[in-house]
């Protein structure tokens, strides 16, 4: 409960003077002040807001020896003295704001009050963006200090651009920091993003387990959570418009995801890419040693002259090439190699490309189709995110948890690049997109090779805000991420952190007490940096209103991997619940799996009104099997005039 009485008073000595950025104050022993508390100092019309960064307590005991003497060396007696020594609670506070701001002077030696709600607004400069018709505040949590509790807002101009942008979250795993904070913040953004700022959507990469697999499912929240939602003015609801994309398993029909429970199939669809989608990002699948001008030139040649076009080279064959799929491409490569073999020794160059370069490119491209079978299809039919049709307040989760790291890089590079392309053309469907990437240290490591993905993330962090392309990233150890990527994040969130990580040079600006607090933060609390806040602020946030991964897996256990026919039937029923699984099984019985996959992909892409009929049509007429009679060998001719015959 806040009182009108001051809770302390600023003190300044020669050794601990007040400065324009820091001051010290003492309080009563029972004061509710703690690390992170916001306080107000008032003196002669000057108001200074500060946040407590360190605390000290000591008594008038000069040397421990006197305590030993006083207790006759008996530790039991040490706590039973008739009088408790005079002691001090001395706090150090960092200045958040001075009013008036000029002239900037040392903090006056005035009384200290606990900050009220109104003080918190002023201290964090939230008055500039949470008031008026064009307010841009996004609730991020509750500041709780000294018995008070005040909502804290981020400025969406500085969170989603254009002034600053991006968010980075650091924290050890499993303590409700990274994923929960992003889920809560995204929900807050979706509910409070101001209309005058336009539309917003989110694309999340689920990189491990079932972390983001249940964003559309409601959680059961405690009364305290609900109270916090009410205090923040938010509705405790799951996301309404969520679509999931997961690659298929190598069988081409079962989803490579933990979100395979039939009850969740309605908004879960396969992510399948063909040759064109991969070729555009071939640089991702080539390692540093592969990247040279010759390989680049040949890939450009394939992309511009061969893939998706009619290509005629009568030296290779008279019939033109129609390269649409990896299978077509392999046929094209075979034709080149056949031609060069036919030319004999000395024929090592085809159309200025050396055979070694051609072989290298072929190997790398076929490698991705092998290692990422399920994501990359041989038959050329792709299923992708709805580029150009992203809806306001929609969430698109790309589940790459089950993919090979190379394929994860490919997915990441392509999705972000497509977002960028569409945002540049302003035809994505929304004005702002939040891209959430966990395990950023894997994609943009501080050390290691300068990969395509890292360069792309750097570019996104440096220039994305102008486009409305915003990176929300997370990692356990911020120090292991490329400095410029995290450095460009205007907003930083820190959950419970490892002390070893806190010992890194990047955290030297934090006081020892703040580090200890960070190392022991309870679930649901975090430290926040934001351009408007001159010092880090601790806030707590309610549990996200979506099912967490553990509960989600318990309530919606993944379906067992099904036989081919059953998996096809389930996907058909996901498209249209009226379709009979038995009818699908009967329909595809005896068909070639490649044909069934192709028909299923076409149906998925087309989403026809009559799913079953369309699928049947795509399958085509069943060609009855023929029983071929055993061939009899051609008998040798008997020539009577052959003197050797007989």
């Amino acid at each position: 409960m806040l009182s009108d009485n001051p809770i302390g008073r600023v003190v300044a000595t020669e050794l601990k003077p007040s400065t324009p950025h820091q001051f010290h104050f003492w309080t009563a022993r029972e004061s509710p002040i703690g690390i992170g508390a916001i306080v107000r100092v008032e003196e002669n019309g000057r108001v200074v807001y500060g946040v407590v960064t360190d605390g000290f307590a000591y008594s008038d005991l000069v040397t421990p020896m006197h305590a030993v003497i006083g207790a006759d060396g008996d530790p039991v007696a040490a706590g039973t003295e008739g009088t408790i020594r005079a002691e001090i609670r001395l706090f150090t506070a960092a200045v958040l704001r001075q009013m008036p701001e000029e002239p900037l002077q040392p903090v006056p030696l005035g009384s200290v009050w606990l900050a009220s709600d109104a003080d918190v607004v002023l201290a964090l400069r939230m008055d500039a963006y949470t008031r008026g018709e064009r307010a841009t505040g996004i609730p991020v949590g509750l500041y709780a200090g000294g018995g008070s509790e005040a909502p804290v807002y981020l400025d969406c101009d500085f969170l989603l651009g254009p002034e600053a942008a991006h968010l980075n979250i650091t924290g050890v795993s499993g303590l409700a920091t990274k994923t929960s904070a992003v889920e809560f913040l995204l929900s807050s953004i979706f509910q409070t993003f101001p209309a005058h700022k336009g539309s917003v959507a989110a694309v999340c990469f689920n990189v491990k387990g079932p972390d983001l697999c249940f964003l559309d499912q409601p959680a059961s929240l405690s009364g305290e959570d609900l109270r916090q939602y009410a205090r923040l003015g938010l509705r405790p609801e799951p996301f309404e418009n969520v679509r999931y994309y997961a690659p298929l398993k190598p069988d081409g029909v079962n989803l490579n995801s933990l979100r395979t429970n039939e009850a969740l199939a309605g908004n879960t669809e396969p992510l399948v890419w063909g040759l064109r989608e991969v070729l555009d990002y071939a640089e991702v699948v080539l390692n540093r040693d592969d990247i040279d001008a010759k390989a680049d030139a040949f890939i450009d040649f394939l992309a511009e002259r061969v893939v998706g076009r009619e290509y005629v080279d009568e030296m290779l064959r008279t019939k033109s090439f129609h390269v649409q799929s990896f299978a077509d491409l392999d046929e094209f490569f075979r034709a080149i190699f056949d031609f060069m073999e036919a030319m004999g020794r000395g024929a090592e160059v085809w159309r200025t490309h050396h055979v070694a370069t051609i072989r290298k490119v072929r190997n790398r491209l076929s490698n991705i189709s092998t290692r990422s079978k399920g994501l990359v299809t041989d038959d050329g039919v792709s299923n992708d995110l709805p580029w150009g049709r992203l809806e306001d307040r929609s969430v698109h989760v790309v589940d790459v948890a089950g993919l090979d790291p190379l394929a994860q890089d490919l997915v990441f590079a392509r999705v972000v690049s497509k977002l960028r392309e569409h945002l540049e053309r302003r035809d994505l469907g929304v004005d702002h997109v939040v891209v959430f990437v966990d395990e950023l240290n894997k994609y943009a490591p501080a050390d290691g090779p300068d990969t395509y993905v890292r360069k792309m993330l750097l570019d996104l962090s440096e220039r994305g805000r102008y486009l409305g392309l915003v990176l929300f990233s997370a990692q356990q150890f911020r120090s292991q991420v490329q400095r410029r990527v995290v450095g460009n994040a205007g907003t930083g969130i820190y959950g419970r952190m490892d002390m070893d990580e806190l010992a890194m040079p990047a955290y030297t600006t934090l006081s020892a007490a703040t580090k200890i607090k960070l190392a022991t933060l309870p679930k649901g609390e975090l430290m926040l940096r934001h351009p408007h806040f001159t010092q880090p602020i601790f806030v707590k946030f309610p549990r996200p209103a979506v099912l967490n991964s553990r509960e989600g897996i318990e309530r919606f256990p993944p379906a067992a991997e099904l036989p081919f026919a059953d998996a096809v039937a389930r996907q058909m029923r996901a498209l249209d619940r009226r379709v009979s699984a038995d009818a699908v099984r009967t329909l595809i019985d005896g068909r070639r799996e490649e044909d069934v996959r192709r028909a299923l992909a076409a149906t998925r892409r087309e989403r026809p009104v009559d799913v079953y009929s369309f699928f049947t049509a795509c399958l085509g007429r069943r060609v009855p099997g023929e029983v071929s009679a055993a061939r009899r060998g051609v008998p040798a001719l008997k020539r009577v005039d052959d003197s050797y015959g007989g």
């Binding site: 005991l61 007696a77 008739g82 009088t83």
Partner: protein, 305 residues
């Protein structure tokens, strides 16, 4: 010179070795004397073990005063002093001390002629005239000012003590003596603890026994011969072992009203005071005899601007 060797030699002769006379144990050296007291507890002086320390059974308050003076100038050869006097009572409840009563005075001390010469420069201060029967002498006037200040501080302490007693009836421990006030010397809930031993109550073998009290022992109760207003009862009490330090180390004289002079009451009060040894009042150099409650009052008064 190897002082330690000399101390060892003294010990070998059966004497008590010592290192330093504790601060403030001497009081005013010019008053150092022996005023034989009358024993009221038994026919002969004894060394009494009063038992284990015990906390005061209820709230207890501590009264003390401080003074600070500076010379501010001369009128001819007569000095002018300005002094700040303060006294307070801090009461201990639930092991914590809190100030209940305090009073402050700022005074100017000088010969009347010097006060007149200073005129309005010191007009806002309360004036305490120094005796002017002798010709002005800076050092004599300094001694006179010290005596006058002691009296003024004593009066201030009596004032705050009476104010406290008007509000509360808790035990009140004062620094010094009860015999400066008739009211105090009759107060059955007051105890004086004196660090000063300029006036000793015994001589000869009794004095030696008195000064050799072991730690945790007291002397028999006696009635000091007082020049002041009222009779009290007193006894010596050793708070800390003196061996290897000084005969006066850790030795205090406890004064109570006559009604508290029984053996039982002297033992009980001794146990309470003994419990007040901790926390020690270091870094004050008198910590061997200065109770923490008193130290707290002094610190409080000195800290206030």
């Amino acid at each position: 010179m190897n002082f330690e060797a000399m101390r060892r030699a003294v010990r070998l002769k059966g004497l008590a070795s010592a290192t330093a006379v504790p601060d403030a144990s001497s009081g005013r050296l010019e008053e150092a004397s022996i005023r034989p007291a009358r024993l009221t507890e038994g026919p002969a002086l004894r060394t009494i073990a009063f038992g284990s320390p015990e906390c005061w059974p209820e709230a207890v308050a501590y009264l003390d005063g401080v003074q600070r003076s500076e010379i501010i100038g001369y009128a001819g050869s007569a000095p002018l002093f300005v002094a700040e006097l303060a006294a307070a009572v801090r009461e201990r409840r639930n092991r914590r001390l809190q100030t209940i009563v305090e009073a402050r005075r700022t005074v100017v001390l000088a010969r009347p002629a010097a006060l007149a010469a200073a005129g309005e420069a010191v007009a806002s201060l309360e004036a305490i005239p120094l005796p002017d029967t002798d010709p002005a002498h800076p050092l004599r006037d300094l001694l006179n000012a010290g005596e006058a200040l002691d009296q003024a501080r004593g009066a201030l302490e009596i004032l705050v003590g009476c104010r406290y007693r008007a509000q509360r009836d808790s035990w009140l421990v004062v620094d010094g003596t009860l015999s400066v006030s008739r009211q105090w010397s009759e107060d059955g809930r007051m105890v004086a603890v004196s660090k000063s031993h300029s006036i000793l109550p015994f001589d000869g073998a009794d004095l030696e026994q008195y000064l050799h009290l072991p730690c945790g022992h007291r002397s028999s109760v006696f009635a000091p011969v007082t020049r002041s207003l009222a009779p009290v009862r007193a006894w010596g009490l050793r708070l800390w072992p003196w061996e290897g330090k000084d005969l006066l180390y850790g030795l205090v004289r406890v004064e109570v009203a006559p009604c508290n002079g029984s053996t039982e009451q002297a033992d009980a009060i001794s146990r309470w005071i003994m419990a007040d040894r901790a926390p020690v009042s270091a870094p004050d150099r008198r910590w061997d005899r200065l109770l923490y409650g008193m130290y707290s009052v002094e610190q409080y008064l000195k800290a206030r601007p």
